[in-house]
């Protein structure tokens, strides 16, 4: 009798096939299906949050609110020149009036294009350095040109969304941990039931000089393989569901939801889950059997 899963075929025959223990494969399939879906939600949300951060963290809009058009344009030009001269700024571009009118069209209708309507001057800024210190320096430089200037960080507008995404990520982590705990509990129950079902065989093995670890190996191998087999089935079904949802999201064409897509690294994590759960089952079965046998002579 040897260590771990790599036991001899003859050793594997010592415990007979028990239909009841085979039910565990289906339980594990369901557990892994739910776990992989939860993990995919977490990984997708993490990816989307990171994508949002990348898009928004280095972007600012400078707004110059001035009723006098000439003064506003003078300040806007000075601000644009100043921004382009700053090392912290990668690029700065004035938003032209036509684009502004287009933005306001849903609220103002065709009147938005009236040249007499005072509208703030806007400058879109992409930062080379998105640190808070750099943003403070940009803010100070602009307000020195005119106190009527206002710097908006795009990240601030989206922070509630970002926080919600972070919450979803942590919720997914919690679900995965919960499923791992439930899997361990199922394994412990299955191992105890298996010990009871094979009590006579185990007693004979003990009387012939079998150690507790040798007996534990018989159970841990079987339970780990059942978990792996069920886990692979659950993961394949979950992958199909994830692919279907991904296809539907792509069809929506939403920038925000598009960020939820899983990367190659995320898929590797998902594929690794049944193997990780099999290892978890192996350890839980070993501990459960050793503890139970330790109470016998």
């Amino acid at each position: 009798m040897k260590l771990g899963i790599l036991t001899r075929p003859a050793d594997r025959r010592v415990l007979d096939d028990d239909r009841h223990t085979r039910a565990m494969r289906w339980i594990m399939a369901v557990m892994l299906l739910l776990t992989v879906l939860a993990a995919a939600l977490g990984l997708g949300m993490r990816g989307a949050a990171q994508s949002l951060d990348r898009q928004l963290a280095g972007r600012l809009t400078v707004q110059i609110v001035e009723a006098d058009a000439r003064v506003r344009e003078t300040h806007a030009a000075a601000a644009l020149a100043r921004l382009r001269a700053m090392g912290e700024v990668a690029s700065a571009k004035a938003v032209d009036r036509a684009a502004l009118a287009e933005l306001l069209r849903p609220w103002l209708g065709a009147d938005g294009v009236d040249p007499d309507l005072p509208m703030p001057a806007l400058i879109d800024v992409d930062l080379a350095d998105a640190s808070p210190a750099a943003i403070r320096r940009v803010d100070a430089a602009i307000t020195r040109i005119t106190p009527a200037a206002h710097v908006d960080r795009h990240q601030r507008w989206m922070s509630p969304v970002s926080r919600f995404m972070d919450t979803l990520v942590w919720l997914a982590v919690g679900l995965v941990v919960l499923m791992a705990g439930a899997t361990a509990a199922v394994v412990i129950l299955a191992a105890r039931a298996g010990l009871e079902a094979h009590r006579e065989t185990i007693e004979v093995l003990h009387m012939m000089g079998s150690t507790d670890i040798q007996v534990a190996r018989l159970f841990q191998r079987r339970i780990a393989l059942d978990t792996l087999a069920g886990g692979i089935v659950g993961t394949v079904v979950a992958a199909a569901i994830i692919a279907l949802v991904g296809w539907r999201i792509a069809a929506l064409g939403s920038d925000l939801l598009g960020g939820v897509a899983l990367g190659a690294g995320d898929w590797i994590v998902l594929v690794a889950l049944p193997f990780a759960f099999a290892l978890l089952a192996l350890g839980a079965a070993r501990v459960a059997v050793l503890v139970a046998l330790g109470k016998r002579l």
Partner: protein, 235 residues
């Protein structure tokens, strides 16, 4: 001959019930053949369970292979058990394994490499006359055949002591005779035998065997000297 087993004032009580064994004291010499006899319920099986370390005594001292078996740590029990072969009264064969795999079990437990298992198992099957039932599973074997598989399993690891609990209880007289010859030949190879039996006729067949008699949990003949004729209540 050296003593291989020593019991001193051993008592055994299950739960809070009365003592099943009381003040049992005896020694077993290495290489000797012992019969343990007594009426049903006298405590033979309990004594054997103490001997093959399936049970710890409630009191007293048991020395096995020169070591205190009462306080022996649990982790050391497998090593001791591998030196003791057991033929259970109800055989306790693993029902889903073939005769071959049942007999091979002790070798596999001891970590013998698979290529080194086949020859001794086939030899053992031939020794007990079951070469033609190699793949048969216990439910398809007769009582006598199961008994022989159980004996082959008990002796394949060349134990220093072989303990057999009523090994002829489930077989016809011819088979009982045959099994006894198996035990005798094993004893001649140096194995110490302890055979619990009701069958006093059987005892008379082994010359030089010693007898211990249990009566209501007490050993009446701890010297182990073969004594005949048997008491009237044992016949």
């Amino acid at each position: 001959m050296a003593n291989i087993v020593q019991f001193e004032n051993v008592g055994l009580r299950y739960g809070t019930g009365p003592e099943t064994l009381s003040d049992v004291s005896f020694t077993l010499e290495a290489g000797a053949f012992y019969f343990l006899t007594g009426t049903s319920g006298a405590g033979k099986t309990s004594l054997l369970r103490l001997l093959y370390l399936a049970q710890r005594p409630s009191r007293g001292i048991i020395r096995l292979f020169g070591e205190d078996a009462v306080t022996l740590p649990r982790r050391r029990l497998p090593g001791f058990r591998r030196r003791i072969g057991v033929v259970f009264q109800d055989f306790r064969l693993v029902s889903h394994l073939s005769a071959y795999d049942n007999i091979a079990l002790p070798l596999r437990i001891a970590g013998v490499p698979e290529p080194d298992i086949d020859t001794p198992v086939r030899e053992m099957l031939a020794w007990v006359g079951l070469s033609d039932r190699i793949e048969a599973r216990p439910p398809t074997l007769s009582g006598g055949e199961q008994q022989r598989v159980a004996i082959a399993r008990a002796v394949i690891g060349r134990p220093e002591i072989l303990v057999a609990d009523e090994p002829t209880g489930n077989v016809d007289p011819d088979m009982a005779e045959r099994l006894l010859h198996l035990f005798d030949s094993l004893n001649r190879l140096g194995t110490t035998l302890v055979v619990a039996t009701h069958d006093l006729h059987l005892i008379s067949r082994i010359s030089g065997a010693k007898m211990m008699r249990l009566d209501k949990g007490r050993l009446n003949d701890p010297t182990g000297a073969l004594r005949f004729p048997p008491r009237r209540d044992e016949t």
